[in-house]
């Protein structure tokens, strides 16, 4: 079996058997969707749940990826990382294992959101739209989990990582196009939101709903993804403890 899959399976088993991680992964996105999509008294667009679902999907991948960086922190703190580094498989297979498991977790959560969104009255995606959505979420997940896992090599411990996580995730979410369209944003926010990678993913999924393939967004995300994964592989190859 490929070492990447071995590492990935290990974390997946731990996730599923961990129970609370799994329950939280199921409840959190649903809660977001209900509170933001239905309960918020603002309406930037006609069918707000249609509008906000891509935002919540991308946000779920964001938070799943950032939380996923904690997997490596724990491995480091508990001594697993040292054991893995002394094993024969190339060290980047540890990275790819984490990317895979974190992205799978994010995709599972996204799927729950989609199901909830459709139940709550969002327009049901066509198979092509679904495929496109998953494709964008996947690239976005790989990009973020590679970044988070690499940051996790350099951050001291769990507390520090949680601090970095909190510092990064909220600004990224609120400076994106997740909650409101560009034309109702304050003037200072719009350019920032345009440069935010989270917006690339969200806009991509929204454009898919209009029946267009969002080549720009996919292109941007893919190039970013290649760069970040390249840097991450480099970091993992030269890691010393």
């Amino acid at each position: 079996m490929n070492p990447i899959l071995v590492y990935c399976r290990r974390d997946l088993i731990r996730w599923v058997r961990g129970r609370w991680g799994l329950i939280s992964a199921m409840v959190m996105p649903a809660a977001w969707l209900i509170f933001v999509g239905l309960a918020l008294p603002i309406r930037f667009t006609d069918n707000y749940i249609d509008f906000v679902t891509p935002g919540i999907l991308a946000m779920t991948i964001l938070s799943a990826s950032l939380a996923g960086g904690g997997l490596l922190i724990l491995d480091r703190m508990l001594g697993f990382f040292n054991k893995f580094l002394a094993l024969p498989p190339p060290r980047e297979s540890i990275l790819f294992g984490k990317i895979l498991v974190i992205t799978i977790r994010g995709i599972v959560q996204s799927t729950i959101i989609l199901v909830f969104a459709f139940l709550l009255g969002a327009h049901v995606y066509s198979p092509i739209q679904l495929l496109g959505t998953y494709f964008i979420l996947f690239i976005f997940g790989v990009l973020l989990s590679a970044a988070a896992t690499t940051v996790a090599i350099y951050v001291d411990d769990h507390d520090q990582y949680a601090a970095v996580n909190a510092m990064v995730s909220m600004p990224i979410f609120f400076t994106s196009s997740a909650m409101m369209p560009y034309d109702v944003m304050p003037a200072w926010l719009s350019p920032i939101a345009h440069l935010n990678p989270l917006s690339f993913a969200i806009d991509g999924i929204r454009i898919l709903q209009t029946g267009v393939i969002p080549l720009t967004q996919i292109g941007l995300l893919s190039s970013l993804c290649v760069c970040v994964v390249g840097l991450a592989v480099h970091a993992f190859r030269k890691v010393k403890i």
């Binding site: 079996m1 290990r10 088993i13 731990r14 054991k83 002394a86 010393k240």
Partner: protein, 330 residues
């Protein structure tokens, strides 16, 4: 390759060879010019906490780069051929890292697959059987005791028949029975032809189970030999005396004051039994009241204290005995 002359093994039998291996962290020299070689044996690296034991293991297992000097494991340079080294070794760190949400079997199987052994399932069963974990292999490692977890780690390490096994403090935190069992397993491995590189600060264990012991202090190798030869560094009997009053140097033929340990005076004597009354008399004459006296054969503890000492012992007097000792040996 530069020659290393610490023992008489033919070169090709050396699984680990280091030459002037050095690691600095800023100003701190964690390992200073370490040269040693290890064959198919249980090799114990002992030293106080922070003496550079773990740093040495990390360098030999390719996890940490050396500042200078070189090291080969199974003939491969750890700096230039790390992948080859990793294929030949197993490393069990101090942390006792087993996945508690995986069963014993899953834990071992994972390593079998990561090592890329050709028949992971059979090798897993064999490793579990050797470490006497087969009965409980399906239970989650969460319910394993400390000793079982350590054995599970050994099973993970053994699953690919490593040529060299690195164990960092393998018995720390275990009860006496579990420790004995771990060491018995380590012996079995040695007999099967593996080189075992162990760090420990349990000197009694090193004395009992290691074929050779290296004593390291503040990164510097102080001595390297079999426990028996190390003990003969202190060729004499050891007499421990507790007194009331201030100690002044006494002159007794065949007896030498060594150092103070836990408020006891330690003397080395060529003939312990006959020296006891002489020391008592000499002390009494100089007005010192002797409370208790005891006589024992030297243990590795004594050698260790002699070579490494404690912070308080680094007095000029201690240094001179240390020099005498090394001088006599050379």
């Amino acid at each position: 390759m530069k020659e290393v002359n610490h023992d008489s093994l033919p070169y090709q039998d050396h699984k680990i060879v280091t030459h002037n291996l050095t690691k600095r962290f800023g100003n701190l020299c964690a390992v200073d010019q370490l040269s040693l070689s290890v064959g198919n044996e249980i090799f114990g690296l002992v030293g106080p906490n922070g003496s550079g034991k773990t740093t040495t293991v990390l360098m030999l297992t390719t996890l940490l780069g050396a500042t200078s000097g070189d090291a080969t494991v199974c003939g491969y340079d750890v700096q230039t051929h790390p992948r080859k080294v990793r294929e030949s070794i197993s490393y069990v760190p101090q942390d006792m890292a087993v996945d508690v949400r995986l069963s014993g079997r899953e834990n071992v199987m994972m390593f079998a697959e990561l090592y890329g052994v050709s028949d992971p399932r059979e090798k897993t069963e064999e490793a579990l059987r050797v470490l006497e974990l087969s009965d409980r292999a399906d239970e989650l490692a969460k319910v394993y005791s400390g000793g079982m977890r350590r054995r599970l780690e050994l099973a993970q390490a053994l699953v690919h028949n490593p040529q060299v096994l690195f164990l960092d403090e393998p018995t720390v935190g275990l009860d006496v029975a579990a420790r004995k069992k771990i060491w018995e397993h380590i012996r079995t491995l040695r007999n099967a032809g593996s080189a075992i590189f162990v760090t420990t600060h349990y000197l009694d264990e090193a004395e009992k189970y290691c074929d050779r012991v290296a004593i390291i202090d503040r990164g510097v190798l102080k001595a390297i030999d079999t426990p028996k030869n190390l003990k003969s560094l202190i060729s004499q009997d050891i007499i421990s005396v507790s007194i009331t009053g201030t100690f002044h140097e006494i002159i007794v033929p065949g007896v030498r004051f060594a150092f103070v340990e836990d408020e006891n005076l330690i003397f080395y004597a060529e003939h312990g039994e006959s020296a006891l009354p002489l020391i008592k008399d000499a002390l009494s004459e100089s007005g010192i009241c002797v409370d208790t006296m005891s006589l024992r054969r030297p243990s590795l503890d004594d050698v260790f204290l002699h070579l490494v000492g404690t912070v308080e012992d680094s007095t000029p007097f201690k240094l001179s005995t240390f020099r005498n000792m090394m001088g006599r040996r050379g």
